[in-house]
């Protein structure tokens, strides 16, 4: 069952001109249009995600992976011009055209985003439990005991000490804050979670445990995910299929182990070799 299908998704920063797309991308070797100066953060992106599947997006900084993920997660940058078409199971029309209310409803119910920066996703003055509860309360939960029980369950699922539930989030370690983000993202049983650089700023061993927790919960709940990372290890661990991006374009895609072990595109080969 196809959950999300995107075609021709693009994010442009600048005035844009008719030549922007032809003059940028992998072949042109740049993501900035030489005619009008517009930065084509991503363009011509086609992809689809099935229920329960994990799609990885890798690339160096500036490759457009975060722009693409943000467009798919309905995160809006008022500076950007977003184009293309994204259809989503059970929803009529183009997801990129929805009004604020629909977007808000989708974001509190169907599609969750785990932000790269904890501060963008959590209110550090709220308790850890409060941050998770916010998702439920925004989705219309009105029974205190139900909210409480669900928050406790999510803490257990994501391996955050339940005893810390009512402490301010700012007193949590980086790994715990990341888990709170994940617990929050999963709170309303979304069909799709988008993780933007889920391990940035964490120690390697903490990274691994956070990723493992996410992977376990993701499989148990059958939630689909889009994982954006510059770290091939993260994508290798989580993703069933992987897209490789460069200069705002998808240059290669396939099963994750195939992309890692039998990379076809020159850039992917360089990327893999620079790590291994």
């Amino acid at each position: 069952m196809t959950l999300l299908e995107a075609s021709g998704v693009e994010t442009l920063y600048g005035p844009g001109c008719p030549d922007c797309r032809d003059a940028t991308g992998d072949r042109a070797g740049t993501n900035q249009c030489p005619h009008c100066g517009t930065v084509v953060a991503c363009a011509e992106a086609d992809l689809d995600v099935e229920g329960g599947e994990v799609l990885g997006i890798v690339g160096e900084s500036g490759s457009g992976k975060s722009s693409l993920a943000e467009a798919l997660a309905l995160e809006r940058d008022p500076e950007a011009t977003v184009g293309g078409e994204v259809s989503y199971a059970g929803h009529d029309g183009n997801l990129l055209d929805v009004d604020y209310q629909t977007r808000h409803d989708l974001r509190t119910g169907d599609i969750s985003l785990v932000h790269q920066h904890v501060r963008d996703g959590l209110d550090l003055e709220f308790t850890g439990g409060g941050n998770v509860a916010e998702k439920l309360l925004s989705a219309g939960w009105r029974s205190y005991e139900d909210v409480r029980a669900r928050v406790r369950e999510l803490f257990e699922e994501t391996e955050i000490p339940v005893a810390r539930m009512d402490d301010p989030t700012r007193t949590y370690s980086g790994g715990m804050q990341r888990r709170v983000q994940i617990a929050r993202a999963l709170a309303t049983d979304p069909d799709l979670v988008v993780l933007d650089e889920p391990t940035t700023g964490l120690d390697v061993s903490v990274q691994a445990r956070v990723l493992d927790t996410f992977r376990r919960v993701q499989r148990e709940e059958g939630v689909a995910a889009i994982v954006v990372s510059h770290d091939l290890g993260v994508v290798r661990l989580l993703a069933d299929r992987t897209l490789v991006m460069r200069h705002g374009r998808i240059v290669e895609s396939g099963l994750t182990d195939r992309v890692m072990e039998d990379p076809h595109h020159e850039y992917t080969q360089t990327l893999i070799n620079s790590v291994l």
């Binding site: 691994a208 148990e220 072990e261 039998d262």
Partner: protein, 246 residues
Amino acid sequence: MTALSVEGLEKTFDVHVLDDTQVVGLDGVSFDVREGEFLAVVGESGSGKSSLLKCLYRTYDPTAGSVRYYGAEDEETVDLASCGDRTVMGLRGDAIGYTSQFLDEIPRVPAVDVVARPLVEQGTPTEAARDRARELLDALSVPEALWDAYPATFSGGERQRVNLAQALAPDPDLLLLDEPTSALDPETRRDAIDLLETSLGDGTTVVGVFHDTDVVAAVADRVVVLDDGALEAVLPVEAFDGEVGR
């Protein structure tokens, strides 16, 4: 009954980073695998043994040829060499297993969970999967004290046993083994082979690369001999003298 039919399988690597050098991994390999059979792939280092397994598992994209997988009786035949990624993902989930000589472990995940993981991913409840994992670790003589420890701290042999247990846990129809016993001492290797034989009694088809000819002799029904990416011979194990390459 044929389980797998490999025909004209080719794999060429275009290595762009080395001035577009073309490296031939497999050069037109054809053979059949019977259902429930244990087929050993042998050959010198660099003869294409691992490439063959990876092409079957689609970790490598075959350049040409076909790999017909017959699966269960009433299912349609699938060409593993050309079918879509999602078909491959579906088969990997429960029908086809693969294990390399190296354990792809995750730091700070205990051995029992490493082994249970494929079962959990298939939808087995976590506790039931852990029970099955403990059975397998026990059968492979992994000391009980290590079950809840992290494999990163294990010896090479212990890690390989965890790896093997992980491959056997989901009980696949077709199991692809890439040197799963290379780091084991003779005694443990014996356990591993016993376990393979017992667990494979019920119709699992195996294509395996083995470093040791004594293992081949002990477990294999037939032997595929590769030489420089090409098929040299398919022999019954009795006819295999342990000599590879000329």
